[in-house]
Amino acid sequence: MATTITKTETLVGKRIRRREDPRLITGTATYVEDIQLPGMHYAAIVRSPHGAAKIRSIDTKAAAAAPGVAAVFTGKDTEKVGPVPCGASLPDLRVPHHYILAIDRVYFVGHPVAVVVATDRYLARDAADLIEIDYEVLQAVADPEKALAPGAPAVHPEWPDNTAFNYHQEGGDIDKAFAEADVVVKQRITSQRLVPNAMETRGVVAEWRGADRQLNLYTSTQIPHLVRTLVAGMLGLEENRMRVIAPEVGGGFGSKLNVYAEEALMGFVSMKIGKPVKWIESRRENFLTTIHGRGHVDYYEVAAKKDGTILGIKLKIIQDLGAYHQLLTPAIPTLSVLMMPGIYRARNIRADIVGVFTNCVPTDAYRGAGRPEATHGIERMVDILADEIGMDPVEIRRKNFVTNEEFPYPTATGLIYDSGNYAAPLDKAIGIVDYAKVRQEQAEARKQGRLLGVGLSTYGEICAMGPSPATPAGGWESATVKIEPSGKVTVMTGSCHHGQGEETTFAQIAADELGVDIDDILVVRGDTAIVQYGIGTFGSRGTAIGGTALYFALQDLKAKVKVFGAMLLESDDVSFSGGQVICNKTGKTKALAEVAGASYRAMKLPPNTEPGLLATHFWEPPNFTFPFGAHIVLTEVHKDTGNITIRRYIAVDDCGNIINPLIVDGQVHGGVAQGLGQALWEQAVYDDNGQLITGEYMDYTMPRAHMMPWIENDHTITPTNVNPLGVKGVGEAGTIGCSPAVVNSVVDALSHLGVRHIDMPLTPEKIWKLANAGGNN
């Protein structure tokens, strides 16, 4: 529970309840769907029911004549709108032209083909049914390995091998490592496609104000400024004539770290009809057309010494890209490569990625984006290696940890790990669970025929995305702090939080730095007309980069406050603390409000000083940050049904300094839920015709309250020196640490039956078969 706060305490590090919550718990927050504008029209989008087909003809006459219909547009009308952008670049990357509406061919089920605009949503939907499209259905290919097989249908006819790119990276001397190995373990490990499933689907309201030559675009996004730049470009509109507003955003998890066809399409429609237009994605559309995550088939080989020392890792990733590149699609698996050694001293690596087109919706960033796949891989491989050489999973990890003395530690993949104490969370987790005791319990249970499992992962991850050279659109973040004439403080952040609680954590930082009451601080984000250019919230960057930008802006502003304060106190020796400027000689003080008022009235100005109190800082991080942690999961496998019970879940995470432990715990819980979702339940399954057969909540298993275990979470704290706050980021940690710990635990429960690996999700039927037959799945 949150603690109450008193005015004089410092707030950073306190468990205080969130400042954004009053509007959210009273139903008065404004999400995109809540926006009503005079003359609003509503769009319904007609989408391909086929995974691959040619469009022979489209007849829109009946729809155009239907009641309430203002307009119908097809690909012919929107052909000149720029393509949906891919921001990632790789050598020789094949980039298909991604029209906002299909022209003569559709590439996946859900591919938008036409849009109907009417005065009412029900009428738009009615009219959409009247559009007749004559398709010539083609053979689709939905599985990336099948797509690579000779003779597979070509997703894009111009590239019959379905290969978008090949990527290769090496570090150290991999051949030597394998030549010197006592043991080599190999395993194919998949990381299935997942549907991000933010509870608020996507939605767009576009409002063209022709006389002003101004397009207002309300969209549920994590990156309003990037949407503005890119959508303005697609529409051929000057960027300064477009305003993007991300109102309340109901979750993203990476799925709204993107630029979608519908954002440009609604802009196009509003500009054509001269009326505001609203499109709210249905859940079915969300399943079919918002990006998916993961979609890996990985082939691992790990070379080691008999004593467990890891010498080298080979990894081949087959990445299911889907039919197009969305904003970051091809870049995601490269993050897996960066993370492939985990937190282990593996000096030699070789990685190959094949990016494969399939007749599916594109994959892109979903909570963890590339790191969960890599962590799952290395943490599974370490267990497989331990099993092979008969070593305890804890001991093999300790043996290979990068040690505390080695930081900053350069990895074989080209990263520099900032700081770490990898044994600390492991020790803590082992202490919480009493590792020796649970191993003993397991042995005894086995004698009675019960299948208990103990699984762990000691993960590392990449946060604070990221230094600009490593990020397609700039990896910095911005903050502006204004002290208003009354002394009240407004923070404008380029971050775009959507549940992460930055209205609270940023206010905590600002309140401490300025020594003012937290109620005097307002944090504003998500409107390109109000906030200076920013990058957005994703990749666990909000506090580590956005918070740091704020910290530096506050330092600039404090300096200016001191200058004004010194003038008012007629002193050249002042300090600023507790919300007042203090003359160090006389002890006289000037309150912040007084200083602020004077700075705006400007009756008198200090030399070379402008009126007002405002500071903006764009902060470029010198490195990523690298949080880590240890998760331990105790499971029981029920032999009769294949059901898995999570007996205990222990998560010890180290995300550096913590601004608000209540919020950090919430991030871990939510992250673990998504990791468990992948490990046990969730899967986007396409059939051979490219139909998504888990495309509704009826069949796509979401974690629900009654399915979740109690999460015992704790922390160790190893600050980073990458930023002055010492924070690393925690948004994705729970997800990254979770899935391998769960799978390791279940494999452990079945290991005496000869089970060595199980691919996710660990569905009861799969487990039942293994528990009763053994062997690999």
Binding site: G642, M698, D699, Y700, W768
Partner: protein, 282 residues
């Protein structure tokens, strides 16, 4: 998200409703199945007759040694009714296993029965209870046994113009239990087994086993029933009987459970249901 247009009537009397339905209108009870289908445009009735305002359909009462449950009794009504809990706990237990709180607050017994989803929970219990389903049509009431009522997936012996009026279940001294393997995403029954057992003199004198989720329609596992009757109901007896539940069944198969796995689960859950039922019977 948006249903097609339709006419809507909310009659106050059963006769009026039957007349409208006789004219081709579709009955709407709790709407838990019908409305999602209409929103997805998988169903598009031209005329809906809302049964929700007919007081004559919303009751749970004891009458002539049996429980009579009106068609619009909600799952929550059934689950929380003191009468049902004491006189026919199997039905209350089954109702409590349906969907979620909100669905149970709106969804109705009659609606579920008439929809005949092959994965619905009630049919298992109604089969095991040898329930009678009273149908009302233009020519008055007719009564059908549960075994005859459930014909196939989404298919019942409801005739043109008929609606489910009430369900009648016996009150007796049997022990019973409903055990279910929920489909993980939707909560529907991948397999659901309702068992009802009478014991006398240390022997199982009567066993009734209703099965849902396994095949296209609910059914009674008569071979398993026979195998148990006359035995002492020991764990071995139960196991033998449970193993017969899915015998010969043309089991459904989907992404959540193959036919083989479903059949296996039917045995496991039958064992659990029978054990609990026998435990409660003595």
């Amino acid at each position: 998200m948006f249903a097609q247009t339709f006419d809507y009537t909310a009659p106050k009397t059963l006769d009026e409703a039957v007349k409208l339905i006789g004219g081709g209108a579709k009955a709407l009870a709790g709407g838990m199945s019908l409305i999602p289908m209409m929103k997805l445009r998988l169903a598009a009735p031209e005329h809906l007759v809302d049964l929700g305002r007919i007081k004559d359909l919303n009751y749970i009462r004891e009458e002539g040694g049996a429980l009579h449950l009106g068609a619009t009794a909600t799952h929550y009504d059934v689950e929380s009714s003191a009468l049902v809990r004491s006189k026919c706990p199997l039905l209350a237990e089954t109702a409590a296993a349906i969907g979620d709180v909100q669905v149970r607050n709106m969804g109705t017994l009659g609606g579920s029965v008439a929809h005949a989803d092959p994965s619905a929970d009630y049919p298992a219990a109604l089969q095991a209870l040898e329930a009678k389903i009273v149908l009302r049509g233009a020519n008055g009431d007719r009564t059908v046994s549960a075994a005859d009522f459930f014909v196939d997936a989404f298919t019942t012996s409801l005739g043109e113009g008929e609606i489910v009026r009430e369900v009648i279940v016996p009150i007796d001294s049997s022990g019973a239990s409903y055990q279910k393997a929920p489909q993980p995403a939707s909560g529907f029954a991948m397999v659901g087994i309702a068992a009802r057992v009478k014991k006398a003199g240390g022997k199982v004198t009567e066993a009734r086993i209703g099965v849902t989720g396994l095949t296209n329609s609910s059914f009674r596992a008569t071979a398993a029933e026979k195998a148990l009757e006359g035995t002492g109901g020991s764990p071995a007896d139960i196991q033998k009987a449970a193993a017969l539940v899915a015998q010969g069944a043309d089991a459904n198969s989907d992404i959540h459970a193959s036919a083989d796995y479903r059949k296996h689960l039917a045995g496991v859950y039958a064992g659990r249901a029978l054990s609990a039922a026998i435990g409660r019977a003595s």
